[in-house]
């Protein structure tokens, strides 16, 4: 390989999601001192010229590199975990790392009732608290009531829906949204929280459809700008749309570490559930297949692992 090609390959091996272990071994492993120095001098992103005349790793990049090396390990550990422990740990992280309250919505709304209950039990074992008390204690904004309600839910999983009630609740949401416009007090509307936190998913899907019939708009689109409520409705009614959206946002350029973790989280937690549908939705929305996108942005073992998970059920 020509020197410039190798430089390019090495830079790429260190960028994106995960690291390209094979490239690192084959290139770095054979380079002698001068070649490595050329590399250091040539990549201003990774190395800076220290005042005492040596090229030092940029601290932020070293930390980022640690994340990238660990990304594969983290994915494997998360994948191997019991789903209850996995979700319990994700919930805990959502409260403390960031925090990322939207992940609370994601876990609470996209799991089956018994899966969420299992996660809550595992949370007891792992952290000696209930998720409910930690959410109630740790969140102080207007979203507190909604989030406590969402993590405490045990929704009916049958298919029976009372269409009359669904219709009237759609009407109610329509006038509540019109009335709230701008004041952002939808989150504190008890009835809105009641509907999204207690109704079954089939019921909410019916509400979503009635809403379209009544207003001509989609409920989640009308909730644009409403923190948490939009995610809640999407996760409950259109999960694949939600997951595609988050995946795409997480794989964009210059994304921070917290956002990047969403890729592992979503692929590991959905591989056995609805990955096929997510792939279809992703392709439909962004015009590129999810495996191709992953090939593009990810490296090495991490990439291969993700691709294997994404291909399950094909």
């Amino acid at each position: 390989m020509a020197a410039s090609d190798e430089l390019g390959a090495l830079t790429r091996a260190f960028s994106g999601f995960g690291v390209d272990e094979k490239a690192l071994i084959s290139i770095l492993g054979k380079w002698h001192q001068e070649q490595r120095q050329t590399f250091r001098k040539g990549t201003r992103d990774f190395f800076t010229e220290d005042e005492r005349q040596f090229e030092r790793w940029d601290d932020r990049h070293v930390i980022q590199l640690q994340h990238e090396f660990l990304r594969f390990k983290h994915a494997i550990v998360l994948w191997t975990m019991h789903p209850w422990e996995r979700d319990a740990r994700l919930l805990k992280e959502a409260l403390h790392k960031g925090p990322q309250h939207k992940v609370l919505v994601e876990v609470a709304c996209t799991r089956l009732s018994d899966e969420l209950l299992g996660a809550r039990k595992a949370y007891h074992s792992l952290f000696d608290h209930s998720i409910e008390e930690d959410v109630a204690f740790g969140i102080h904004g207007p979203e507190r009531k909604l989030l406590v309600a969402l993590v405490s839910s045990y929704r009916y999983e049958g298919t029976k829906v009372n269409e009359e009630i669904a219709k009237s609740e759609a009407k109610f949401l329509s006038s509540a949204i019109k009335g709230a416009a701008g004041n952002k007090n939808l989150l504190e509307n008890e009835e809105v929280v009641r509907i999204v936190a207690t109704r079954s998913k089939p019921h909410l899907t019916s509400v979503y459809n009635h809403y379209k019939e009544i207003t001509g708009h989609y409920l989640d689109e009308d909730l644009d700008g409403e923190l948490y409520l939009q995610e809640t409705v999407q996760c409950l009614c259109k999960p694949q749309k939600y997951f595609s959206k988050v995946l795409d946002a997480s794989m964009g350029p210059d994304v921070d570490e917290l956002k990047k973790e969403a890729v592992t989280r979503i692929i590991v937690t959905r591989a056995d559930v609805d990955m096929k549908l997510i792939k279809e939705e992703y392709n439909h929305k962004y015009g590129v297949s999810l495996p191709n996108k992953i090939e593009d942005v990810a490296n090495g073992n991490y990439r291969d692992f993700l691709l294997t998970l994404v291909a399950r059920g094909d």
Partner: protein, 311 residues
């Protein structure tokens, strides 16, 4: 301990036959019904229902419903159901009560039942009514009582002493400002684990001299307050709580039979003995005596049987 007296290995088939005979012809042999059902535990009753269904292609419970009436019918009906179905029926009735729902029953069940029992109740509710109990409760209630059945409290033994102390302080502040529906009070009482709440309430007593329930007594017309007080009493000592329910039910002119039935039926196979002992201590007479005086007929005979009266 249970007060129910039941034989070791009764024959469900013989019991079903006897019950059939009791319901046939003119009138009903209530004594036979009491002497059989009143002396069978939950598993035995379930077997009888199955045998009855197999033999006569009819639900025993429905048959009894049509044969009996009044308080006696209500008591037998609830007694014969599976324990979780019974709580399902109690909850449904409590939620749909007009003009306001019966907070007491809802809080009682949510605070006294174990995790496994609550889960069985939720599932049984969904099977029976094709939607969740949380939906019904949220639809018919306002405010934080809506969350009463949802929180899955930590049920381990770990306590955070520092937290107990700081939350006792929060409670005290809330009470002295008389801001009872303060978010923090609700948060603490509805989400903390039972052991943590007990630790917090002990701190309260140590730091401020009185137990918290005395402070919550002032505004008894406020349902929210009464629900909070009920929750605390159920969490701290549910035997004492039940004794009080029964005592008030008997003292009430006309006798609150619903509450009396509920406590006796729910506890007969669990801890009615402890409640009886507390009653005796508190009122200087046995519970059977009080029940005997304030109730009559088949209803009385049934309750006394559950209370452990020998034949």
């Amino acid at each position: 301990m249970a007060t129910l007296i039941c034989p070791e290995h009764p024959s469900p088939v013989a019991d079903a036959e006897a019950l059939r005979k009791a319901c046939q012809g003119w009138g009903t042999d209530e004594k036979a019904i009491i002497s059989i059902l009143g002396r069978r535990n939950a598993i035995q009753r379930k077997l009888i229902r199955q045998a009855y269904e197999d033999m006569y292609q009819e639900d025993l419970v429905k048959r009894l419903e049509s044969e009996l009436s009044g308080d006696f019918e209500k008591a037998i009906y609830r007694w014969t159901l599976d324990p979780e179905d019974r709580d399902v029926v109690l909850l449904n009735v409590a939620i749909k009560q007009l003009p306001i729902l019966d907070y007491r029953v809802i809080v009682e069940i949510s605070c006294i039942r174990s995790h496994e029992e609550l889960l069985a109740i939720k599932r049984a509710y969904q099977i029976r009514y094709k939607h969740s109990v949380e939906e019904d409760l949220a639809q018919h209630a306002t405010g934080d009582i809506r969350q009463a059945l949802s929180v899955y409290r930590y049920n381990g033994e770990e306590i955070n002493a520092r937290l107990a102390s700081s939350e006792a302080e929060i409670l005290h502040r809330v009470i002295s400002e008389k801001a009872y529906n303060h978010e923090e009070t609700i948060r603490i009482i509805t989400t903390r684990s039972k052991v943590q709440i007990l630790a917090t309430l002990n701190h309260f007593k140590d730091d401020y001299g009185t137990s918290i329930t005395k402070h919550l007594r002032d505004d008894s017309s406020h349902e929210y307050l009464s629900a909070l007080r009920t929750a605390i009493q159920c969490i701290c000592d549910h035997h004492k709580y039940y004794e009080k329910v029964v005592r008030c039910a008997l003292n009430k002119p006309g006798t609150d039979k619903d509450s009396l039935t509920r406590v006796i039926i729910t506890s007969a196979e669990k801890d009615l003995k402890e409640i009886k002992e507390l009653f005796q201590k508190r009122n200087s007479r046995p519970l059977e005596h009080a029940v005997g005086k304030d109730t009559s007929g088949d209803y009385k005979a049934f309750l006394l049987t559950l209370l452990g009266k020998e034949d």
